[in-house]
Amino acid sequence: MNIIEARGVTKTYRSGGFFSRAKRVPVLKGVNLAVAEGTCVGLVGRSGSGKSTLGRIMLGLEAPTGGEAHILNRPTVSGNRMQIDREQRRAVQVVFQDAVSSLNPRLTAKNIIAEPLRNFERLCGSALGERVAELLNQVGLQREDAGKHPSQFSGGQLQRISIARALAARPRCIILDEAVSSLDMLVQAKILDLLDDLRSEERVAYLFITHDLRLVKRFCDHAVAMEKGVLVEFDHRQYRKAQMTGSLGELAAAMLSAVPQTRGNAC
């Protein structure tokens, strides 16, 4: 079954204010994308290509201008308003790129992770504390970290807290919106390992949004690329750079090799 799905999703932004003529900026033009249970789909594209917008629409945070977004095979919009029931809401969670701004600096780690637990599972008191500790351990943090504030953690640890918060809702799918792009290499590796482990433990699907083609090869089952507002499928395991065109071709050409190449001025 598809956990989240976009069918012919179009999104156009209106720029301009109250009295000026509105300019329409099309960001997505008829996008079709589905994430099936337990799979990992990679969504690749350049900065500003609309990948995050698609992510937000599939999360149910925004309504598409045209087409439909489905969570658990039910639409997210009813009539003219966003309509998401409880089961749908908990089925899809998110981890954003910037861990610092995606966590409320005034709350402790415990309260941050507790928010979905209170909303979906109605936990409180010691049961809540236990579940928070369990989640912290699952993402590689300590029980004692629950009382700390975001300013006391490093970037990688903050991202782990974000992941713990996403897991707290026991989702069927997690959207990872450039979730490792801001982390340094060692931490990226650790977080991706963690996500791999969690995928097999929790049987959760991922939509992995990134601009780094090399990560897609390692991490995802299928991959699609955002090309001027539409999606293009490609085989990320067997691709040949020469066959890729458009922005996918640019991304492929821009990829850096993992090992040093012989250069003219190497000594």
Binding site: L61, D98, S102, L103, E115, F153, G156, D184, V187
Partner: protein
């Protein structure tokens, strides 16, 4: 101890001083009838321009009224008016600003156009207009100052709400299942309140000046009610012979405005984490926190 350390001590001293002053003012205002030795409106021409003594610590004015008692009662009037103004402005500004910011769309535009109308009125012109229509009195002064200032707060609160609305932690709260209203309360309002407290405190001096200024012009309280601005106006004609009659109320206004400004500064340092200096130890701590996390596995 470096220059920085010295500055920090000085700042702490000033903060303590300002809190003390505000406390004294509040006590004077609340307990003025108990603290004054004489009736501030009692005219005793025999005591005209009496010298300061045990009976009249600051002397008497041109009508024989005890200056100290008048100052204390004046505190009541001035600070009381400012407190009411601040309350009205914050309530109205907050209601309009937060609604406009969070709701967006047509409601936002409409409310902001209403704000724009009120922002165009200069305080004194509006006050004079209202007083011309409704007559003098402290209530009309309060109305005039409130009506011209609330729109500014509404705009500021709206900008704050707008800035916070699209922060990722607010979006994340919605994804975590929190409803729109609770998201607003838990994630958007706390920083807004913090900023509001700072702004209002800093602005009290400004409001004080308006109230006193309007009273000085004769548009505020009716005599013989004591008020600092009125006291200055009354003493104008005696400035060459008895300058202290202007000095006492003037000093009172000055000290009040300064104390509230310092208090506002202190609140900002305490409540707004971004205003604080980034110290070297914070820097070092962040760096080492991240390195120890990455090296948790033995290599």
């Amino acid at each position: 101890m470096t220059v920085n350390g010295l500055k920090r001590h000085l700042r702490r001293g000033l903060v303590a001083f300002s809190i003390l002053v505000v406390f004294i003012l509040a006590v004077s205002a609340l307990f003025a009838p108990l603290l004054s030795t004489h009736d501030p409106t009692e005219v005793t021409l025999a005591n005209k321009f009496a010298e300061p003594g045990l009976d009249h610590p600051l002397g008497c004015d041109h009508l024989g009224r005890d200056v100290l008692s008048r100052l204390l009662h004046g505190a009541r009037t001035s600070l009381g008016a400012v407190a009411v103004i601040a309350g009205v402005i914050l309530l109205l500004g907050f209601a309009v600003g937060a609604t406009a910011g969070y709701a967006g769309g047509v409601l936002d535009s409409t409310l902001m156009r209403i704000c724009d109308v009120f922002l165009t009125f200069p305080t004194f012109i509006l006050a004079m207009f209202m007083i011309g229509v409704l007559g003098t009195g402290i209530v009309n002064v309060i109305l005039a100052v409130s009506l011209t200032h609330w729109a500014w707060y509404a705009r500021i609160i709206r900008s704050l709400v707008l800035a916070l609305k699209n922060r990722e932690h607010v979006l994340a709260a919605r994804v975590s299942g929190t409803g729109r209203f609770m998201t607003m309360v838990r994630h958007i309002l706390p920083p807004v309140f913090a900023q509001l407290a700072i702004l209002a405190t800093l602005d009290i001096g400004h409001m004080m000046m308006h109230v006193s200024g309007l009273s000085f012009l004769g548009l505020g309280v009716r005599p013989p009610t004591p008020e600092w601005g009125v006291m200055i106006a009354d003493a104008r004609q005696y400035v060459w012979t008895h300058p202290e009659l202007i000095m006492y109320p003037g000093l009172a206004i000055f000290v009040t405005v300064m104390a509230f400004n310092l208090l506002g500064d202190a609140l900002r340092d305490a409540l707004d984490p971004h205003a604080l200096e980034h110290t070297a130890t914070d820097h070092a701590r962040r760096e080492t926190a991240s390195s120890s996390e990455s090296l948790q596995e033995a290599y």
